[in-house]
Amino acid sequence: MPLASQFVNLLAALLLLIAFAMLSQRRILTLIHLFAWQGAALAASTLIVAASTGQTHLYYSAALTVLLKVLLIPWVLHRLIDRLEVRWDVETLINIPTTMLIGIALAIFAFSLATPISQMANTLTRSTLGIAMASVLLSFLMMIVRRKAVPQVIGFLAMENGLFFAATSATYGMPLVVELGVALDVLVGTFIFGIFFFHIREQFDSLDIRHMEKLKED
């Protein structure tokens, strides 16, 4: 097994680990840091793939990742929670251990799903597709169990990370134009989320989404 792919696998494992950490994490601030780290891991893996395969556009995408997911978005989120004074996110819908168990089950499911596909992959990062899928599902789970707006958004962004990782690992990255477009969407999305936090805050003077359960059938 070439060194590069071992590195990638290592990073993939790291990514998954971070995903689990985020799932179990209570403090928003730490959550943001974890998110940043995840972005870093993603960027690193992209870089390695780029280096080992010589796909130039992967360099751009790595740079983009660093710029966006390691620096810009975490910074924005930081500013936001400073302005909104929401530092704690104690309660989740299901208690942490259960969440973890479900998460593990999901990971196994994702792996079993990905194995047949990875078999046919000719990339040096074949085994990582499962991990990518797992991290996507884990972030999904995180969005489900979190009660506050900010962690939900972070979950969403983490999901994007997983997707990017899948792109790079499985297919040496999407065409650049697509990556740019996706990045743009993510960026705009983040800003809109930011705007929302303020609106929600001024309407409900809290970011607890339990206030937003008025629209329903009865």
Partner: protein, 667 residues
């Protein structure tokens, strides 16, 4: 030649459409709608009747219009059956339109314009229903008919009762239409398009054929107002303006009969006797139920509506018998049943139209529809009284008017039952005849009540006293239909031959030779020795005797008359309030048939300062069928709406689970 008839009837329908659109023109207080629209409609109706009559004697003609779906243009076909119904539609509509020309004169412009549009679109759509020769055009015309009539019913939409009536009507009509659509789907064997020819060609397994029959029967039955799908009818028909009620009861219900005959005899084919039994049972139920509830009504138009239910039942009895005979392989007797049913269809169209028009005139001049407040109208509106009497005698199946002829033919069909092999069915048929007899007698009672309470006696309310007779247009319209009652009653043979032709074109068999040789004087349905009837002689003898007696009495005695107050039975002051009311008249029936009704009665107590006797009679089907269905739907939607509890995590969970489930499914 017959292509001309088809083009002509199409042109008549188009003329109706055009009239309707022109009626919208707001120029000078809807001048067109006020003066020309309805007379034009009447003329178109006459033309249509002519073409229909023409078409009965000619082979079927086809035509396709470059409209409709790709691969399924509008197919049109004019065969004897459609011809007969076109005749019915045109002739009755002509009378009603003339009446309407006078009736709607006073409407305010906006409303008048809308009525003009809806009324004529309604007529045109009915013509198209009869002409349609593919499933799509049929459905389009069918639903347009429902829509137009719905808007006509809700003309006076400020009254909540009328709104709910309209809603119920359109809902039932739509559900019926869905059933019909499904029936076409079943009929279509999976090959070819949805032109009726393809449906005819498709060969079905007995199971599917029966399914198609049931769908068609209940789909069209919903429109025809057979129980238990009738509930909309007594609500909707009274709600509409009277000429429209006349159209609804007189003509629109018949399109449902047309649909049944077309689908069951023509498209499905291979009629089975079990189907006939189903039709007979439902028909008998409908007949009795309709007349029994009619006897309980005191709202004139509502009462007439219930009688429409009853008459539909009678038609169904005829149809059912014919299906039984055909199913057992006795096409001649079957043809007789079909003829009887179609004849009654025509008769009911004429006299029910007449009665509703009469009710309209009463409503217009006396300003009330509650029988308990009428009385003595015969002195105020003698002509209307006469026409109404004709209608009442006709619907009571009294010779020599038309209602009697068709019921007589139905009896004759029932009397053919000895030819059947199956002993049970053979002895069942006369029982259905018995229900028919019972219904006929009850109808007579009901119309004695109506006529006696409304027209005879003394006015029960002062308002009835200054009622005025109907205007010229109205009178002409009623006279036209009354004349119809006489013609159909006195010269049945001509129509018998027409209907025989229709029967031949549908089933390939007609009446017996003897029947076909019956001349204008003698009506012989089967064989001279078996049964015969001569309304002309009948009338001649009675009229002759009346005249003779009159002359003799005057000749040998004298015609001296003294006028005095009615005998007061020793009670000095007799008031009009002492006369029987409609409710009182129905009381013995309530007594005899108590269990049929859902009665709610409040008897006044002795020390009641203002004693009032309250009696409410409701339709059992509401509580047996409609409300439970509504409750079930409400329950289900309550359960479903649990999906939408407003919590975003749950929503996310839904999509998550969906994803997982699908992924599992894929593996």
């Amino acid at each position: 030649m017959n292509a001309d008839a088809l083009t002509g009837s199409l042109a008549a329908a188009a003329c109706w459409l055009a009239t309707g659109v022109l009626a919208l023109v707001p120029a000078r207080r809807a001048w067109f709608a006020r003066t020309l629209a309805f007379p034009l409609g009447a003329l178109a109706g006459l033309a249509l009747a002519g073409f229909g009559l023409d078409a009965i004697w000619l082979p079927a003609a086809r035509m396709t219009l470059p409209l409709g779906l790709p691969g399924l243009p509008f197919h049109l076909r004019l065969d004897p059956l459609s011809g007969f119904f076109l005749m019915l539609l045109g002739a009755v509509a002509a009378g009603i339109s003339v009446y309407a020309a006078g009736y709607f004169r006073g409407e305010q412009p906006g409303r008048l314009a809308l009525i003009g549009l809806q009324y004529h679109v309604f007529l045109a759509s009915m013509a198209l229903v009869v002409l349609a020769d593919d499933a799509y055009l049929f459905m389009v015309a069918w639903e347009t008919m429902a829509l137009a009539s719905y808007f006509l019913v809700t003309t006076d939409h400020r009254r909540p009762a009328i709104r709910s009536a309209g809603f119920l009507y359109l809902l039932v009509a739509h559900l019926g239409a869905l059933a019909i659509l499904l029936c076409f789907g079943v009929l279509h064997g999976g090959r070819g398009d949805y032109a009726f020819d393809a449906l005819r060609a498709a060969s079905l397994s007995p199971g599917w054929a029966t399914a198609a029959f049931l769908l068609a029967f209940f789909g069209f039955g919903a429109k025809a107002g057979m129980i238990p799908l009738h509930a909309w009818l007594p609500e909707a028909h009274p709600a509409a303006p009277s000429p429209v009620s006349a159209l609804l009861s007189g003509v629109m219900l018949k399109t449902a009969i047309y649909g049944m005959v077309r689908v069951i005899y023509d498209l499905i084919g291979g009629v089975r006797w079990e189907w006939g039994l189903v039709v007979l049972v439902v028909g008998a139920g409908t007949t009795l139920f309709g007349v029994l509830y009619a006897l309980m009504q005191h709202d004139l138009k509502r009462l007439l509506a219930y009688h429409s239910v009853e008459n539909i039942g009678i038609i169904l009895l005829g149809l059912g018998m014919s299906m039984v005979f055909i199913g057992f392989g006795h096409p001649v007797a079957g043809a007789l049943g079909l003829v009887a049913a179609l004849y009654h269809t025509l008769n009911h169209a004429v006299f029910k139209g007449l009665l509703f028009l009469g009710a309209g005139s009463i409503l217009r001049s006396a300003g009330r529809r509650n029988l308990n407040e009428m009385g003595g109208l015969i002195h105020r509106m003698p002509r209307t009284a006469f026409y109404f009497l004709v209608g009442a005698l006709a619907i009571s199946a009294l010779p020599p008017l038309n209602g009697f002829v068709s019921e007589w033919l139905t009896f004759q069909t029932a009397l053919q039952s000895p030819v059947l092999e199956n002993g049970v069915v053979r002895s069942l048929l006369p029982l259905f005849a018995a229900t028919l007899a019972l219904a006929g007698a009850l109808t007579a009672m009901c119309f004695v009540k109506v006529y006696g309470i409304a027209f005879l006696g003394r006015p029960r309310q002062p308002a009835g006293a200054e009622a005025r007779d109907a205007g010229n247009f109205e009178r002409f319209g009623m006279a036209w239909l009354a004349a119809g009652c006489f013609v159909l009653g006195l010269f049945p043979t001509a129509f018998l031959l027409m209907l025989n032709r229709v029967g031949v074109s549908l089933t390939g068999h007609g009446l017996s030779e003897a029947a076909l040789e019956s001349n204008w004087l003698w009506l012989i349905p089967t064989a001279p020795g078996q049964a015969s009837y001569s309304p002309v002689i009948f009338l001649a003898v009675i009229a002759g005797t009346v005249l003779l007696c009159w002359v003799l009495v005057r000749r040998f005695y004298h015609g001296r008359v003294r006028y005095a107050d009615p005998w007061d039975c020793g009670y000095p002051e007799q008031t009009a309030r002492m006369q029987d009311t409609a409710d009182a008249f129905g009381q013995p029936i309530r007594h005899v048939f108590g269990p049929v009704y859902r009665m709610h009665r409040v008897l006044p107590s002795a020390e009641d300062p203002a004693p009032r006797y309250v009696l409410k009679i409701e339709d059992r089907h509401w509580y047996a069928l409609y409300l439970p269905a509504a409750r079930l739907a409400a329950y289900l939607s309550a359960k479903v709406s649990l999906l939408q509890r407003g919590r975003i995590s749950i929503y996310l969970l839904y999509s998550f689970l969906t994803l997982i489930a699908l992924l599992v499914f894929v593996r």
